[in-house]
Symmetry: C2
Subunit: 308 residues, 2 copies
C-alpha cells in the first residue's frame, strides 16, 4: 500500500526541515556559458543536452535543502523531442536523489485527452514509459470532470495541484471574478479551492488531514493566501512568486499551518541563476545555487508561525 502523496510530502518536509521547492526552468540564454559554448542556437540536441546537464547538476546541488523539484515543462517542450528526453532524464536524476518531482505543465483537457496527460505526467508503469512525476500541476478551467483521469493516481501516492490564484498581475481577470454561491459570494479562485477540496476528500487523507489535491496560490497575493489557508485546512498550497517574481519570504507566512506545514514555496530563477547575482562573489554556478537554496530554506523557516 502506497502512502498518500500528502503524507509523503509531510515526511520529506519533516526530515529535511525545508518547505522549499526549486523550479527547474532552464532558460537557454541564462545557462552558464561553459554549458552552451560552441552550441549553435538552432542545435536542439545540443541545447537540450546543456539544459539537462544544468538541471541535473542543480538537482545535485540543492538536494539537501529542497523537498522537491519542479521542472517547468514548457522549457523542455520548447526543444521538441530532445527536450523531452532531457526532461525524463532530469526527473530520473531527481528521483535518484530521493527528491519528489512536481511536473509543472498546467495541462487541462477532457476525457481521453486528459487521461493521456495524466498517464504521461504521473504514469508509473503499464503501457508505454511515462514521465512518472510524483505530482502534476493542472488547470481547472474545464471543470471537475476534466480532472477525473488524475484521480486514480491519488490512490497511488501521487498528487495534483489545481491552479487557483496565480502570481501574475493579470491573474485577477478571471480568477478574482465574484460569483454567487447559495446566497454568499465567492471568487472564482475560491471555487477552484472547493473543487480541490472535493477531489481530495474522495481519496485517503494523510495523517496530517491534508488531501492529495492541493492548489497553486501566488506569493504575490499574501492576503488571499492567508484567507484560503483559514478556509481550506485540507489543502496543501504550492506557492510560486518569491524571488525573481517579487514577493518577499514574509509574505508567504500566512500560507502555513500552525505546525509549519501546509505549503511548499517555489523559487526558480533566484536559485538557478544565483551565479549571475552581483553578490555571487565569483562562486561557481553550482555553489551559488546551493547557497541560495540554503538561504531561502532558512528564510522561509524563519517566517513560520511559532509551533503551537
Amino acid at each position: 500500500v502506497t502512502k498518500p502523496f500528502s503524507d509523503r510530502l509531510a515526511a520529506a518536509v519533516r526530515d529535511k526541515n525545508s518547505r522549499l521547492v526549486v523550479g527547474l526552468d532552464p532558460h537557454l540564454h541564462l545557462l552558464p556559458p561553459e554549458l552552451t559554448d560552441g552550441i549553435s542556437s538552432d542545435d536542439r540536441e545540443g541545447l537540450a543536452g546543456a539544459a539537462k546537464r544544468f538541471c541535473v547538476e542543480i538537482v545535485t546541488a540543492v538536494q539537501e535543502s529542497t523537498v522537491a523539484v519542479k521542472p517547468q515543462v514548457a522549457f523542455f517542450e520548447r526543444l521538441g523531442p530532445p527536450g523531452y528526453q532531457a526532461l525524463e532524464e532530469v526527473v530520473e536524476a531527481a528521483h535518484g536523489h530521493g527528491l519528489l518531482v512536481i511536473s509543472d505543465g498546467k495541462r487541462g483537457d477532457i476525457g481521453s485527452t486528459a487521461q493521456a496527460y495524466a498517464d504521461y505526467h504521473l504514469g508509473d508503469g503499464g503501457g508505454p514509459a511515462a514521465l512518472g512525476a510524483d505530482c502534476a500541476t493542472v488547470n481547472p478551467y474545464l471543470g471537475e470532470d476534466s480532472l477525473q483521469p488524475y484521480e486514480s493516481y491519488l490512490d497511488r501516492g501521487r498528487g495534483i495541484f489545481l491552479i487557483a490564484k496565480t502570481s501574475n498581475r493579470g491573474s485577477g481577470d478571471l480568477q478574482d471574478k465574484i460569483v454567487g454561491n447559495g446566497g454568499a459570494t465567492t471568487a472564482i479562485y475560491t471555487e477552484v479551492a472547493r473543487m480541490a477540496e472535493r477531489i481530495g476528500a474522495r481519496h485517503e487523507l494523510g495523517v496530517s488531514g491534508y488531501g492529495s489535491a492541493g492548489i497553486v496560490v501566488g506569493a504575490t497575493y499574501p492576503e488571499q493566501g492567508r484567507a484560503l489557508r483559514e478556509a481550506f485546512p485540507s489543502l496543501i498550497f504550492l506557492v510560486p512568486g518569491i524571488g525573481a517574481q517579487g514577493a518577499a519570504p514574509e509574505e508567504i507566512a500566512g500560507c502555513f499551518d500552525g505546525d509549519g506545514f501546509g505549503a511548499l514555496i517555489n523559487a526558480s530563477r533566484s536559485v538557478l541563476f544565483a551565479y549571475r547575482d552581483d553578490n555571487a562573489d565569483g562562486k561557481s554556478w553550482r555553489d551559488a545555487a546551493c547557497d541560495a537554496a540554503v538561504v531561502l530554506r532558512d528564510e522561509i523557516n524563519a517566517v513560520l508561525p511559532p509551533v503551537a
Copy 2:
C-alpha cells in the same frame, strides 16, 4: 507581408467549400491493427511510428474535404520524445498538403513560460526548430497578460483560440459562473470571449472583419454558441463536439455567420476511426476516413444559413 490568420482561414474555407477540421487523436488502442501488429505495448518508438503513419495517411485521405487538421498534443506527449518526433512529422505532412494546422495543446502559463509555449507551438524560425503550427488553442484562466507572448505571432499570420465554453458536461463548473460586469451580468465564458475580442482588436483584422484570436465553443451547447455568435461578430469559433461527443450537425448552425463563415467544426474519432463503424462495409481505414470526412463536410454545409 503575411495575411492575417483569419484571412488565410477564410480563403481556405472558400476554396474548399468546407468548414471541417479533422482532429488528429491517435488513440493507440483504436489504431488499425495492421499498423500496430507486432509492436509491444511498452515500445514507445514503435507506437509513435504507428501513430505517425496513421496520422500522415489520414491527412492525405481527408485533405480535399478539410481546411485544417488539429493534432491533439496529449496523445503525442504520452509517447515522450518519439511522440514529439511523430507530432512534428505530422505537422510537416499536413503543411505539405497545404492544410492549416491547429496545435491543440490548451497551454496556459505566464511570462517566460508562456513565451516558451508560444515559441514552440507557433514558432517559425529563429532559435531552435519549433512545431510551427498555424494556430494554437490556449487556456485563458491565467489572464489576458498570460497570452501576451502569443500576440506577436498574430502579426505574422498565426492565430489562437481561447477555450471559452468546452463541450464536456462539467464545463459549467467555472465557465458558466455568472459574474457582475458594470451593472450587467455575464458568464465567465463570455468574459473569455471579450478577452479574445480585445486581443484580436489589437492586431490587423481580416477583410471579413474577423480577428486572429478566436474562441473554442462546444457543439454540445448550441444555445450558448448562437448567443456568442450574435454578441461577438469578430470571433472565429472552433467548435468541437460533433460525432463521437454527441452533437448533431444541425446543432452547430448557429455558430456561422450569414456568409457561411465564422466557425470551424472539428471531428476527431468519428472520422479517424470510421473503419470501425458497423456500416463501414469492409472499407479500408483510409477510405472510411476519407468518406466520413466528405459526408461530414456536406452535412455541415447543409445546415449553413442561406446566404443573405
